[in-house]
Amino acid sequence: MGVFQSSPEAQRRHFMQSVAKSVFACMTALLVLPVIAIVGLLFVRGGSALSFEFLFSAPLQGMTAGGIWPAIVGTVWLVGVSLAVAAPIGVLAAVYLNEYAGDSWLTRIIHLAIVNLAGVPSIVHALFGVGAFVLFFSLGTSILSASLTLAIMTLPVIIASTKEALSAVPMSFREACWNVGATRWQTIRHVVLPNSVAGILTGVILQVSRAAGETAPILFTGAAFFLPHLPQSVNDQCMALSMHLFTLSTQVPNVPPQITYGTALVLLLVVLSVNTTSIIIRSRVRRRRRW
């Protein structure tokens, strides 16, 4: 046998390696397939509905004609208000938990609570929202109630992602700051936050797309089937893209399919563009890494 001829054992190893690689590659392909299928289907069926008219006019004739403008505006309201509540609370709580709180039974319980809150099904959040905000705090079915419900749903994930971004800043940086007499706050303000803000933003932005897509939490708390006028304040009800899609596909007879698919396409594009923003931010920051 020549020096460069492979032994049967080496051939077998090489074969197994090829098999393993193909299996992993197939699974990856399977993962991408549904995404392509969904986007493709929506474009084929709903692409024709997309027009300036469709985006910027109200539904007409019992939602069987017209556009989705009030639903787009409603979604912006809901996501905006919920984020205005959840982002500051979540980020600040995460800073406390990661930078100040030690490891005690109390903080462990808090961590457990956050993990469990993240696992609560959205319909349960919805019922809680009805009980707490609509009824107990008498906020009624309104943008405020719905947004607060969404905020509670997104809060634990914002806390978790923020904590992850903060703990990506090496401990040695903090110690170096403390060693020269910087207080904890000065350390957080000048070293920890500037080097984790991109990660924090990414996490928050991903929750924007999640809040935009959820239907259950807003179903009983503030989203309306049909409102001809746009909301004027957080005390009004509003339409929402996700809710509108649900209504079109299950509650209203004789809706032309391109309207339903068009609505779904718009919702998907909103979510995808938000996610893309967060990906762009992340990659920009990776290129500008400071250590």
Binding site: D103, S172, F173, E175, A176, C177, W178, N179, V180, G181, A182, T183, Q186, H190, V191, N195, R290, W291
Partner: protein
Amino acid sequence: MVSERPKVQFDKLTVRFGDHVALRDITLDVRHNEILGIIGPAGSGKTSLLRTLNRTLELTRGARVTGTVRIDADDIYRLGSVSDLRRRVGMVAPLPVGLPMSIYDNVAFAPRMSGVRDKTTLDGLVETCLTQAALWDEVKDRLADLGTKLSGGQQQRLTIARALSHEPEVLCLDEFSIAIDPVTTMRIEEVLKELKSTITILLVTNLVQQARRLADRSAFLLTSELVEVGPTEQLFGREPKDRRTFEYVHGMFG
């Protein structure tokens, strides 16, 4: 003149990490304007001793400190502000850390955090500290570069410059030269000899020759206990008080 109070006093200092005793009943004085060398094998408690002095030890989980540590008359475990204490004590840890900011900002960080805003003052401080750390010539033309992009040895010297930037009364050096070449180490050692006239220096080192060159007095730690403290020539000479000191010092050479 009345007998002068030591600059730093460790009195019956005991440090525990959970069940493990890192330092046992250490009583040790450090005099004004001296360099005290601290030697001993790995795990003997040298680093813990330094870290009690700026109270970063208590940041380690499970660490408990009993006994007292004084700087001048102040019991540092009864001081209100840990930050003020840490400004009085410069600390150079063995692993080089450049903060993720410019070289200039690395050195100007501590003064800024204590309220110095004046550009001229900061410029002066940065140059002085970097010069003392034997780094100025290498970085003076690129002060805006990131401190984290410097080489290991340069970051180590940046750490020294940072420790000097808040004008400490006591300087703790923990293996400051492991990443630095011998020639540069010598330059820093010369600076330390000069600094001694204004500040008190605690020097933890595994380089027995370095302790010999620099230290006025030396302390030998072994398995969490202080075996011996005395003039450096005594510890490194033919007749240290304790046989274990002789064995350690000469074992290192052997």
